[in-house]
């Protein structure tokens, strides 16, 4: 089969690889019909995630048709078209039993701090990803959900990560009716967090980024008040001015470890690797939220450490909540939201690529070229 093939930072190509086979009685093999590139893949592409081996296939956002199932799989059969959550979860461990499907203890021998994720380095279990014609899906009875007849495939593929992650960002923020919610990052995740904040009862939604075309999109799609941080001298002062001097009730970090805007963090975190990337957006979130407020983090960071103002977390009495999205837990509700038209995921898709154009697709998305918001790959044409 054809599959994306990582060669080192900023270098990817298509390679011929063997079609995956059943390795465990709870596996399924899926023929991929849609597969996205995610902001998280850019962290891999830039070589920021430890144990990203040459020859790996990325891709954790995919849906596809079941081709084959292992002996213990009961809920799926060949021919089923399924949404595959990005987390690999056993459904029965200490963590899965609590609904923490992003923190499974039976899917990643390489690290305890994160469960298995498709195509996300050996630090997340070494599972090959879905930017390929076929993928192996462990614990096939637990994660995958059949795509309802009425649902568009472009909506379905965004339910594997983008929609649930944005939704969980808002859920973890503990939004109360009327709250002012500030979201850093107008990528697909920040955009979905803005839409979801309203579903949880926000009174005011503000989004910050520096890419005007994304801010324009979220201003309409959220909807949201939007600001370009290049025009703001001091984020904390600005947000206080916006909120009667108090700060926002809730701040959401939907940027992660490649935040731009600080030469210091870029030097220390991105170039010298003395920090796990640049945590500028998190820094801003901590300093822009009101005392007693909540900072919800879905942006991804590396495993070592970052420079953030911990003292302010203490002195302001903040609650910090964060996680990999527990996709499976949210899917029933989110499918309802899509059916009722409360969320229209496919409007985010701006680009479509065939697998053979993978190198260009990564370059365009990583460079934020051509006004890209969300690229989708069609591995089987």
């Amino acid at each position: 089969m054809d599959a994306m093939d990582y060669r080192g930072p900023n270098r990817v190509r298509v390679a011929r690889k063997p079609v995956p086979t059943i390795q465990h009685p709870q596996d399924a093999i899926v023929r991929v019909t849609r597969s996205c590139i995610c902001g998280s893949d850019i962290h891999l592409y830039h070589g920021l995630v430890p144990d990203t081996r040459v020859g790996s296939t990325f891709g954790h956002e995919f849906c596809g048709v079941v081709e084959e199932v292992g002996a213990e799989v009961e809920n799926l059969k060949p021919g089923d078209h399924v949404i595959v959550p990005f987390n690999i979860a056993c459904g029965q461990c200490h963590f899965c039993q609590q609904g923490l499907f992003g923190n499974c203890h039976e899917s990643n021998p390489m690290a305890t701090a994160v469960g298995g994720i498709f195509g996300y380095s050996h630090t997340a279990g070494g599972h090959q990803g879905g930017q390929a014609q076929y993928a192996r899906v462990p614990y096939a009875d637990v994660g995958p959900v059949k795509i309802p007849d009425w649902m568009d495939l472009d909506d379905a593929v965004l339910l594997t990560d983008v929609v649930p992650t944005g939704y969980q960002a808002a859920e973890m923020a503990g939004i109360q009716k009327g709250d002012t919610v500030v979201i850093f990052g107008a990528g697909p995740i920040g955009i979905m967090a803005a839409r979801s904040a309203w579903l949880f009862g926000a009174g005011r939604v503000i989004v910050v980024d520096h890419l005007d075309y994304r801010l324009e999109f979220v201003a309409r799609f959220g909807p949201a008040e939007v600001y370009n941080f290049k025009e703001i001298d001091d984020m904390a002062v600005f947000m206080k001015r916006q909120t009667d001097g108090l700060g926002a009730d809730v701040c959401i970090d939907a940027v992660g470890c490649e935040a731009t805007g600080s030469a210091l963090h870029t030097l220390l975190g991105i170039h010298l690797k003395l920090e796990s990337g640049s945590a500028l957006a998190l820094h801003w979130a901590i300093n822009s939220v009101k005392k007693g407020g909540v900072v919800s983090i879905v942006g991804v960071y590396g495993p070592t450490g970052n420079m953030i103002p911990v003292g302010n977390i203490v002195n302001k009495g903040l609650t910090i909540r964060a996680n990999q999205a527990s996709v499976k837990r949210h899917l029933p509700r989110l499918i309802e939201h899509v059916r009722e038209g409360r969320i229209r995921p496919r409007e985010l898709i701006t680009h479509r690529f065939e697998l053979r154009d993978i190198s260009d697709a990564y370059r365009i998305f990583a460079g934020r070229l051509d006004n890209i918001i969300k690229p989708v790959l069609l591995p089987n044409g």
């Binding site: 040459v54 029965q92 899917s107 305890t112």
Partner: protein, 170 residues
């Protein structure tokens, strides 16, 4: 020397039974729980859930020393190889909480990249770097940025070359 994770310091105090502590739980407020959905402590399977059957096969799995038991499934992504593989094996002697673990892995990733070029060449393939880095797309959608970037690189090289020539002449 990598740390020996089997050596544990002796426990200095006995574990207390919470219910023996005066006033334990009198102010417990179940609604005040920011750890949603990790809520139903009473229903938790503890550490003894029915484990899935282990995945079979001969793959080399580098396992975190923080696990009590091997997780049932793992991916079949690229196996450790060569020098980078040796570095990865060394990394896994340290816990996830130890800097060496991650520094060795990041170092291994860079070595792996060079080994990847080596294995390409060994199979008679010269990696097409402009294509793999999506250079055509960058020129198509961001010609100005490309001109600035390559111009700056060319100017930098020119300055270095000129400085060296001048020094040689002097």
């Amino acid at each position: 020397m990598a740390p020996d994770h089997t050596r544990l310091p002796a426990r200095r105090t006995g574990l207390a039974d919470p219910s023996s502590i005066p006033g334990w739980g009198v102010d417990a407020e179940t609604r005040n729980d920011p750890t949603w959905p990790m809520r139903d402590r009473a229903d938790s399977p503890g550490a003894d859930w029915p484990h899935p059957v282990p995945q079979q096969g001969g793959a080399e799995v580098l396992q975190s020393v923080e696990y009590k038991a091997r997780p049932a499934v793992y991916g079949l992504g690229p196996q450790p190889r060569g020098l980078s593989g040796a570095m990865r094996r060394a990394a896994f002697r340290f816990s996830e909480s130890n800097w060496w673990h991650w520094l060795l892995l990041l170092g291994a990733d860079r070595v792996d990249m060079v080994e990847g070029i080596g294995s390409d060449l060994a199979t008679g393939r010269v990696p097409n770097l402009p294509a793999e880095t999506g250079m055509a797309a960058a020129w198509k959608h961001d010609a100005r940025g490309q001109v600035l970037k390559w111009g700056a690189i060319a100017a930098g090289i020119a300055v270095v070359v000129m400085a060296r020539n001048r020094r040689r002449r002097a």
